[in-house]
Amino acid sequence: MPTTSESILDDLSTIIADLGAIREKVTDSIDRSAINNQIKALTKWWRAIDDERAEHSNAELDEAKSALEKITRDLKVEKKKLASVAVVIHRAAQAIAIAERVAKALA
């Protein structure tokens, strides 16, 4: 498996969590201070790598969002079409009324 920013972040957070657990068991103040400083240093790295990771946009997500927005637009168009059924019937009624006037005029 290739090393990615995500996998480095996962590994770092595991190490920080392990150090945190060890610290809770250490009572010697010098050892504890050393562990605290390790935690602080690793956390700074975690944040720096997280920042690098977030720099790159996610092409798949951008594509997914665009696809969903297109589907939403299509649905709105579809809704408009369906809402025009009454208009179609109304136009048919008007056509019949005109036909009737023509029929009367011819009679």
């Binding site: 995500e6 972040l9 770092l12 957070s13 920080i16 969590a17 150090l19 945190g20 103040s29 504890r32 201070s33 562990i35 605290n36 400083n37 935690i39 602080k40 956390t43 700074k44 790295w45 975690w46 944040r47 720096a48 997280d50 920042d51 690098e52 990771r53 977030a54 946009s57 996610n58 798949e60 997500l61 594509e63 997914a64 969002k65 696809a67 969903l68 927005e69 589907i71 939403t72 299509d74 649905l75 709105k76 579809e78 809704k79 369906l82 809402a83 059924v85 009454a86 208009v87 019937i89 109304h90 048919a92 009624a93 008007q94 019949i96 009324a97 009737e100 029929a103 009367k104 009679a107």
Partner: protein
């Protein structure tokens, strides 16, 4: 006479067709899905705000005034180095990513709302009005042409409006199921991203807590050391005691917030999972027992939103 037989058989066909359609799955599930997606989107907005807040806390407690000008964690990929200040305040990438991902979840809610609107399209009154108008005009022309044996206007109006309603209903169902099928892949991707973001936030909170504790302990010990120095004047001692008190208060506040935050993230993850399952379920016209999946999603998303609101109030 032939005209009447045709009309009656048409009405019979329409009545049979109506009965068949009522046997199909109702579109209520789509409406429920939209409600759930809206709740999920609202909750995720707060989630993304919280992610930025966690990052700010992490940045505040990671300030390293002793760091050298070219410390390695401040180096960029292109080899250049950020100034100590730029390195300390960097967070724009996360901000941009948060905006992008939040917008994607909002697009999911918009899509669900459009599905809902088409599923609940109610044109009955307009269709009936137009059908009555058409029927009246047909009757008039029949009278003018002297081909109307008896009055069938109301039956005709009913038949036309039924046909129109059935047409709308069938088309709406078709659109909903077809579009939901097309949307499965993008919905998958957006939920996958949201889940990745939840996982990253879980890590951020977890290491943020460990780091905060380590940093505060070091600061506390430094304050204590100076406080116990016999050369420290009383006013400085007071300032050190106040600063140490703030550290203790902040630590205890973080401890109080830890459990609700973890609970919120777990709840968000659960809702994201059930959103995916519910979206798969609404693509099926014979939703049957899977209707429960949609109900679960709505339940999860509403619970999530109310716990988010409790947390932020």
């Amino acid at each position: 006479m032939k005209h009447h037989i045709t009309l009656h058989s048409n009405i019979l066909t329409i009545l049979c067709l109506s009965a068949t359609i009522q046997g199909c799955a109702d579109l209520e599930a789509v409406g429920q899905f939209a409600q759930g997606a809206k709740a999920l989107s609202e909750a995720s907005e707060i989630f993304y705000d919280n992610s930025l807040e966690s990052d700010r806390q992490l940045a505040r407690l990671s300030v390293d005034l002793a760091a050298a000008n070219n410390s390695p964690e401040c180096q960029k990929k292109d080899g250049s180095t950020l100034s100590p200040w730029d390195c300390a305040v960097r967070g724009e990438n996360l901000l941009s990513e948060t905006r992008r991902n939040r917008a994607a979840v909002a697009a999911l809610a918009q899509y669900a709302q459009s599905l809902h609107e088409i599923a609940t399209l109610d044109e009955d009154a307009e269709v009936e009005k137009a059908a009555r108008e058409l029927s009246g005009n047909l009757s008039n022309i029949a009278t003018t042409l002297d081909i109307s044996a008896n009055s069938q206007e109301s039956a005709l109006a009913g038949a036309i409006s039924n046909v129109a309603k059935i047409y709308i209903d069938l088309k709406a169902r078709h659109s909903v199921y077809e579009k939901a099928k097309h949307a499965q892949e993008p919905v998958d991707e957006i939920i996958k991203t949201l889940k990745n973001d939840i996982k990253r936030q879980q890590q951020r909170i977890s290491i943020g807590r460990i780091n905060a504790k380590a940093t505060r302990e070091e600061w506390f010990n430094a304050f204590r050391k100076d406080y116990q120095n016999p050369n420290t004047p009383p006013a400085s001692k007071a300032a050190l005691a106040i600063a140490a008190g703030h550290l203790v208060e902040d630590e205890l506040l973080d401890q109080v917030a830890e459990q609700p935050n973890k609970h919120l993230l777990a709840s968000l993850e659960r809702s994201a999972d059930s959103c995916l399952q519910a979206h798969a379920a609404i693509q099926n016209p014979d939703i049957g027992e899977q209707a429960e999946t949609v109900k679960h999603f709505v339940h999860d998303a509403k619970n999530l939103l109310s716990s988010v609101k409790r947390l932020t109030d």
